[in-house]
Amino acid sequence: MTYLAKPKLLRTDAPKNSLGYTRRDYEGAISTLCAGCGHDSISAAIVQACFDLDIEPHRVAKLSGIGCSSKTPDYFLGASHGFNTTHGRMPSVLTGAALANRDLTYMGISGDGDSASIGIGQFAHAMRRGVNMTYIVENIGVYGLTKGQFSATADKGSKSKRGVVNNDTPIDLVALALQLGASYVARSFSGDKEQLIPLIKGALRHRGPAFIDVISPCVTFNNHAGSTKSYDYVREHNDAVNRLDFILPRDQINATYAPGELRRIVQHDGSILHLRKLDSDYDPSDRVGAMNHLQERHALGEIVTGLLYVDSSAEDLHRHLNTVEKPLNQLGDAYLCPGSKALDALNASLR
């Protein structure tokens, strides 16, 4: 049960990051998800990414909606405040939280039911507004907590565990995010942490809405033959366009790349995204090209993964609203209340 705290790590030789934290300091309560659930791998990837980036856990706010995926914020970053909100409404609560304090890192965890069905409106509008956040959808193609109904991301023609065939057109959240203005868009697979961890790091250090769709097969309800979100299917059809190496400004770059193989993108905070090309034609700064590529490959039954689009010069919601640098939740009375003199002048104008 989640109220069982994990035992404190006793090993003294555990590696520490530059803040002096061990990986354990980024973990949360013990997961209650099914054994083998891909979501736990995503939680582990988040832990690793935050550890590697030297993020102070308490400077992260993690928010979620309702569903299996939305339970996971309890299982990582135990020293962060978290908010398990209502079904499909995490984006608005996260938006409000981000408005209140621009200095924290915001992580939104959602699922395909939470974001593609009940919450598709909030998903869309949070992307449009340019909320500075890392938004991860743990995409399983079915409803887990209510036992296996199709979700809106289930592919047409895919088969449920009970043999029912899905006839509805799937919603591709990556395609929507691209169209709606997300400035960092990626897809990955919970079974590929080598790909996933750098993508999460890049997202956490991106300014603006960063969206990662992580295909995470449901071991209980969607891991059978006929499913297009099973471990086997995703492994066979994983069509990665690039591999990302995330490099902090302070890090030395040791890797060597063949000429023409690498694309180097510097984010606003100086962090560097090294993209090794796997598909020689793919250009992650071309939004329309990305959308086309996705559609073409999807028609062939392929699942396009990697960093699909990034605009490192994007502006976020705070910039649009021209809010002061100091977080709004820290402005004192003197900065907020105009006082009695202003009121006297106002009264005089109302006669």
Binding site: L99, A100, L328, D333, L350
Partner: protein
């Protein structure tokens, strides 16, 4: 029929076509009367429409300062041919009709028992102006000029108002003053001015200000320290946020760099609006939304989350009829139940009932302190009548010594010192737990917010005992709220009585006037204006101290009465409904009539208590 003669006490009604620019001319006229020191209460009766539909502007002039709607009409300014017949029918016998006489009307279209005052406004406008829009707008100013003459008003007051309104735009001032003069002079030359209705300078306004409740709410949110607003446009609450924005630009722009000390986001719907507010408040900013009936319905699930996660949010609900369009531009007090018990599960919410713009400001600002102190949603329930009509009220005031009460927020220092932190733990016995703001301390005070499924330390728990502990604490918290919401206002009758009347919100001026009408008939009723929910003990005591208590409301189901019955465990027979719900603001005549009738029907004539001999 003898024409009505009355000075500083009458009702003028303007029948206009909406979108014709009449609203600003009418408002200017109301302001002119006010500047002459005579209390005036205007009310806009408008359609769900932008252009072409009928709209009325009803203006009560009352030297005695009665600001409730009176009913009836002594002078009709009939500028809308579509509604001509019903407008003529509404004039009191002996009243006056002012109309545009450009097009001759058959005698049958008038009434014998009224005084008809015609001015060929269109003809004059067509002669004076070539531009179509100018012809329309200056026609409005022209009738204001004519009325100034007809009511014997001071021309210079209106002239100065125009100068104030268009300060810095001299061309506009000259053009408007010219139109005003045209109307004024035409009336002086062709009609017998003044008529029986007159405005004379008086001293009935004093320091009072003239503002609508929505603007006052927006200002209250600024003074209350709100920094985040999430909202979705809906009549009649939209202007709360517009006012908040405009006051923020004025008062909350950083003088050094022009940056905003506030954030306003127009959401995609009301669900997102309240979601943003909850997120911001959870993260330690003061946040609010403004909405009306349908928005309240849409926000229900989130209200429950805010209640159980104990997030301090403020909601301004400008009540109206509903659903759909039409009645939504009419006033009602019909969301009490929807707000008091909003959401699924066992929830109860704090409600505040401002009576006028002054209280929209003060209770609006106070709502943020209450929400932070109680860590719960607080609803400010006003209605269209207060929200969208300019109303005379006492000037706003603010104590500069006052500091925001942010409630029980545990600081990094307190956590560091080892203070016991349980997010849902009742350490002080008042049911209010301590909270931490995200980002406070590296290792202490973090918690995971959920709905109900957790223990006092915010750890996941499905145990019944943990749930019961939490619910009992929330009940204690609601008891604490009783003592914190604004106290009711008692107005005793001139002599001891067993009859009482309870009212709230915009009913206030009509109730005060009704009391005076009843007193004049020898009927004495103590009145109590409820200002908050949960009900303070004084409210229940008031009911217990009277044999019959009328509950005066502007809804069909008697919603405050229901709350009183349930929460106060009152005998239903004791609370008599006085309900007005046709969408127009309640009147003193209505209240006094119903109470008078009820007392005679029930033959509840005052009986002196028998004294044992």
């Amino acid at each position: 029929m003898k024409p009505i003669h009355s000075t500083n006490d009458f009702v003028i009604k303007f029948a206009n076509v909406n979108g014709s620019g009449s609203a600003s001319a009418n408002e200017m006229f109301a302001r002119a009367i006010m500047r002459m020191g005579v209390p005036v209460a205007p009310r806009n009766i408008f359609p769900s429409n932008i252009q072409g539909m009928p709209t009325w502007y009803e203006m009560r002039v009352s030297a005695a300062g009665w600001l409730g709607r009176r009913g009836g009409c002594d002078l009709m300014v009939a500028m809308n041919p579509q509604t001509w017949d019903r407008d003529i029918a509404e004039i009191e016998p002996g009243g006056y009709l002012f109309y545009d006489s450009t097009k001759a009307q058959p005698r049958s279209r008038f009434r014998e028992d009224i005084t008809v005052l015609g001015i060929p406004l269109t003809e004059i406008c067509n002669r004076e102006y070539t531009d179509a829009r100018q012809r329309q707008l200056f026609k409005n100013i022209m009738y204001v000029g004519a009325l100034t003459a007809l009511l014997g008003m001071d021309f210079s007051v209106v002239e100065k108002l125009i100068a104030d309104q268009y300060r810095g735009k001299d061309k506009l001032i000259d053009a408007n003053v010219n139109a005003l003069k045209l109307g004024y002079e035409h009336a002086m030359q062709n009609l017998s001015c003044p008529i029986g209705l007159r405005v004379e300078r008086a001293d009935g306004v004093g320091k009072q200000i003239f503002i609508n409740g929505n603007n006052a709410c927006g200002l209250g949110a600024v003074y209350g320290g709100a920094t985040v607003a999430g909202w979705y446009p809906i009549t009649p609450s939209t202007s709360v946020i517009e006012a908040f924005g405009s006051y923020c630009r004025k008062y909350r722009t950083d003088p050094d760099n022009g940056m905003a000390r506030y954030a306003i986001v127009q959401a995609e719907d009301e669900l997102a609006s309240i979601g943003m507010v909850i997120g911001a408040a959870w993260n330690g900013a003061r946040a609010f939304t403004a909405t009306s009936g349908p928005g309240i319905s849409l926000m229900q699930e989130f209200f429950g989350l805010a209640y159980f996660a104990e997030v301090p949010v403020v909601v301004f609900n400008v009540q109206r009829g509903g659903p759909s369009t039409g009645m939504p531009t009419r006033t009602q007090q019909s969301d009490l139940i929807a707000c008091a018990y909003a959401s699924h599960g066992d929830t109860k919410h704090v409600l505040l009932f401002p009576e006028d713009p002054y209280e929209c400001f003060t209770l609006g600002a106070q709502a943020f302190d209450l929400a932070d102190r109680l860590q719960t949603p607080v609803f400010v329930l006003l209605d269209l009548d207060i929200g969208m009509n300019d109303r005379l009220c006492q000037p706003f005031d603010w104590d500069d010594q006052r500091r925001y009460d942010r409630g029980k927020v545990m600081t990094a220092e307190q956590l560091e010192a080892g203070k016991n932190f349980g997010r849902y733990l009742d350490v002080d016995g008042d049911g209010i737990p301590w909270r931490t703001i995200p980002g406070t301390h590296p290792t202490k005070g973090a918690f995971f917010s959920r709905g109900t499924t957790r223990n006092a330390y915010a750890k996941y728990s499905e145990a019944g005992t943990d749930y019961v502990y939490n619910m009992e604490r929330l009940r204690r918290k609601f008891e604490t709220a009783k003592k914190m919401v604004p106290a009711p206002v008692l107005k005793p009758a001139s002599q001891a009585t067993r009859f009482g009347a309870i009212h709230y919100g915009s009913t206030s001026p009509a109730m005060a006037e009704a009391s005076a009408l009843l007193e004049a008939q020898g009927i004495h009723v103590d009145t109590l204006r409820v200002r908050g929910f949960p009900f303070a003990d004084e409210v229940i005591d008031f009911i217990n101290d009277h044999d019959v208590v009328f509950v005066v409301e502007q809804n069909e189901s008697g919603q405050l009465r229901m709350l009183l019955l349930t929460e106060g465990e009152i005998d239903p027979k004791k609370l008599v409904r006085v309900l007005h719900y046709d969408g127009t603001p309640i009147t003193a005549r209505f209240i006094a009539g119903r109470i008078g009738d009820a007392l005679s029907e029930h033959k509840v004539t005052p009986i002196r208590k028998q004294v044992a001999s």
